[in-house]
């Protein structure tokens, strides 16, 4: 009796251990892969179910404005076609999760992350959508420069469908410009300094920034002189001392701080710097087109009339307002998916037409469909520049791409604007760091 009890107990324990092991493995993969994940799926009903189901790993969390519109589009797509889209809201971690998941054979039909990241790092998983795009006349809806970028990163193939595009430039409070008697937006560095002087005289901070924006400020100024390629080359080759514009751009950015044009709280920890616009303390900020919405959300200030102008040109520089730091999120369809056409058709409903416009309105962003010309009020000032732009800079003009160098650059820029370094010392420090 005793012996058989022990046997049963041992068997039960072994089974429990097995189950615990399996359970542990499953739940750990669940937590690492999801974070704030909850599964969304289309509602039942509507058109007869085709029996087809697509799995979408999303970079959004289910509570975000973009997610709500995508869910709505998925529901509508199911109503119309009977194809069900199962959405896993992974959040931004999808960037690190997607590769291992696909390598492990997880069945995913399409996913999204930063469009550049997607095209460059996930290219081997992605299907070539060129033919489907041609058949759907997709390119008549997309901003050419974004599509060209994708193709340049994927050997001429269209592997990623950009959406939720952003552009960058100087966002400003129109009322403060009027108050200071400024009639025209500055086009050159000298005019920009003049505008700063007038704003300062009117009693507000001319410009402000987050500490994470220093690479944007310096990158823009440097790139206006020499172009993005040379900026990245200078960073990677550490040829700072042989590029005089590197020092000049540093000195000019420091001028903004030395002359008191920059808010005395700047550079401030994100989002304190940008919030100064919402608190009516500062007039301008160099940032991406999501910043007006963020400021309104953070400070509850709906009164601001947003103006926009591209970062000014410099004397003897190679780039002007036609060059801007732009980007987008991007959908990719997995090459192994058996439902590529269905996934593509669904994505077309998200990135063009009605749902694209809805998404733009939901988060005050730029529509990705260029035929949607009704931009949300807070970003509409950037529209003419965006449409006329021909040269795309990467994020921070590529200054944040070098993992062994970017933190040192960030730190030295902090020292520069704090007045602890001049342009020459900055250039020397950057050269020494390589």
């Amino acid at each position: 009796m005793k012996k058989s009890f022990v046997r049963v107990a041992a068997g039960a324990s072994a089974l429990a251990m097995l189950m615990a092991g399996c359970g542990g493995a499953t739940s750990s993969s669940g937590t690492t892969s999801s974070g704030s994940t909850s599964s969304g799926s289309t509602s039942s009903g509507g058109a007869a179910s085709s029996g087809k189901e697509l799995t979408y790993w999303s970079m959004w969390n289910s509570t975000e404005g973009q997610a709500k519109v995508i869910q709505e589009a998925a529901d509508a797509y199911y109503e119309a076609t009977g194809v069900k889209i199962n959405i896993e809201w992974k959040g931004r971690d999808v960037k690190t999760l997607i590769g291992p998941a696909l390598d492990a054979g997880e069945k995913i039909d399409f996913f999204d992350t930063d469009y550049m990241n997607n095209a460059q790092q996930n290219g081997k998983y992605l299907a070539d959508l060129t033919e489907m795009a041609e058949a759907a006349d997709y390119e008549s809806h997309a901003l050419p420069v974004l599509v060209e970028n994708v193709k340049s990163w994927s050997d001429g193939k269209l592997t990623v469908i950009p959406y939720q595009p952003y552009t960058t430039g100087v966002w400003y409070n129109k009322a403060m410009f009027e108050n200071a008697g400024i009639e025209a937006e500055p086009k050159t560095w000298e005019e920009f300094l003049d505008v700063c002087e007038k704003l300062k005289a009117s009693g507000v901070n001319a410009i402000t920034c987050n500490s994470s924006d220093l690479t944007l400020l310096y990158g823009y100024q440097f790139a206006r002189y020499v172009g993005q390629e040379k900026v990245v080359e200078t960073l990677n080759e550490a040829t700072w001392s042989s590029v005089p514009e590197a020092k000049q751009a540093a000195d000019e950015i420091r001028t903004l701080f030395d002359k008191g044009y920059m808010s005395e709280n700047a550079p401030a920890q994100w989002p304190e710097g940008q919030n100064e616009l919402g608190f009516d303390e500062s007039a301008m900020i160099l940032q991406a087109s999501w910043v007006p919405n963020e400021i309104v959300q953070n400070t509850m200030n709906n009164e601001i009339q947003w103006g926009f102008f591209p970062w000014p040109s410099v004397t003897g520089g190679v780039d002007g307002p036609e060059a801007a730091m732009i980007g987008a999120q991007g959908f990719g369809i997995v090459d192994k998916s058996e439902n590529k056409q269905e996934a593509f058709d669904f994505l077309m409903t998200v990135v063009t037409g009605e749902y694209d416009l809805k998404m733009a309105e939901a988060v005050s962003s730029i529509p990705s469909d260029i035929q949607n010309t009704q931009w949300p009020a807070s970003v509409v000032a950037a529209q003419p520049y965006y449409e006329g732009m021909t040269k795309a800079y990467n994020w921070a003009i590529g200054l944040e791409t070098n993992n062994t160098y970017k933190d040192i650059l960030q730190n030295n820029l902090g020292e520069l604007v704090a007045g602890n370094m001049d342009g020459q010392a900055f250039v020397d420090a950057m050269t020494a760091a390589k």
């Binding site: 590769g99 291992p100 920890q269 994100w270 980007g327 040192i408």
Partner: protein
């Protein structure tokens, strides 16, 4: 007693299989990976390119990795001293028969059960904020205008603002370990010491501390592990960037090189694996040194 071999096999095999599959295999794979050039973590072995020790050589030459190691060492040493001293002090006070022990113990332990992200957000927004933060308001109230303007989230002070916040959250955990260590000590030793005329402080210095040697070893080991895995706090302090020079730690650097960041940052899972191996070696060295320096308790009680 006769051992039942079948039973041993029955009990140990599942655990052993899981240990090998879930723990040993990834460890070995990581060590091997650190000698290769690998772009993405899950790339098949056929895509790996053997590079010998070059990942380690490049780490040795990388300034930002040195900075990260330096930051980690500072957290370990400065933070370690601070946390151990404060938690031992709290433990000594709470085990000395003070009223409301349970209440204080719970209060001091609370930061441990709150998510690190929430605690970090609280510190950044409510304490260090240079416009509305507690410190700003305090210095403003007492008229110290210059101090009120201090920016805790920029420049070299940022590291210390991070360190203080991190240590604040760690005290409760180590206090509990010390408390259980102190409560384990037999009361008769103290009685005898009291009869011999030793003061409370003398008793603490000559009885409690020496008898807590093993507990110290445990605490330092736990502290070392938590500092080497320092990641979330560093990320919170540099948000929205992935990292900053003042607060970067080896694990953050490892994350950056393994997964890249915004846009097209280069990835190198081989280099990331090398960072992981170096950190594991550091842990082993610390354990070895600790075992040599702090002998096990030779007194039985």
């Amino acid at each position: 007693m006769k051992q039942n071999k079948k039973m041993i096999v029955c009990f140990l095999t599942p655990a052993l299989l899981f240990f090998v599959g879930i723990f040993l295999y990834p460890v070995c794979r990581t060590i091997v990976m650190s000698f290769f050039n690998v772009e993405a973590v899950s790339d098949p072995v056929s895509l790996w390119k053997f590079v010998g020790f070059s990942n380690y050589v490049s780490l040795a030459k990388t300034q930002i990795f040195h900075v990260a190691m330096g930051n980690m060492l500072k957290i370990w040493l400065l933070g370690g001293i601070g946390v151990m001293v404060v938690s031992l002090l709290f433990a000594a006070i709470l085990t000395s028969g003070v009223k409301g022990k349970e209440f204080y113990r719970a209060v001091i332990y609370v930061p441990n059960i709150i998510n690190a992200v929430a605690i970090a957000t609280m510190w950044i927004n409510c304490v260090y904020n240079k416009r509305f933060g507690l410190l700003h308001n305090f210095f403003d109230m007492i008229g110290a205008d210059q101090l009120a303007k201090t920016d805790y989230m920029n420049g070299s002070i940022k590291f210390y603002s991070l360190l203080v916040a991190f240590c604040f959250g760690s005290v409760g955990y180590f206090m509990l370990i010390f408390m259980s260590g102190i409560e384990r000590l037999p009361g008769d030793i103290y009685e005898a010491a009291t009869i011999d005329g030793a003061s409370k402080i003398r008793q603490f210095g000559t009885i409690t501390l020496p008898l807590l040697r093993g507990v110290f070893k445990t605490c330092i080991t736990f502290w070392t592990i938590s500092v080497i895995g320092f990641f979330v706090w560093s990320q919170m302090w540099s948000a929205p960037l992935n990292s900053e020079m003042t607060t970067i730690t080896p694990f953050v650097y490892m994350y950056n090189v393994t997964f890249g960041n915004q846009g097209n940052a280069q990835r190198d899972a081989g280099l990331g694996a090398a960072v992981g191996v170096v950190m594991a070696v550091v842990v082993l060295i610390v354990f070895f040194v600790m075992n040599r320096v702090v002998k096990n308790d030779d007194i039985e009680f």
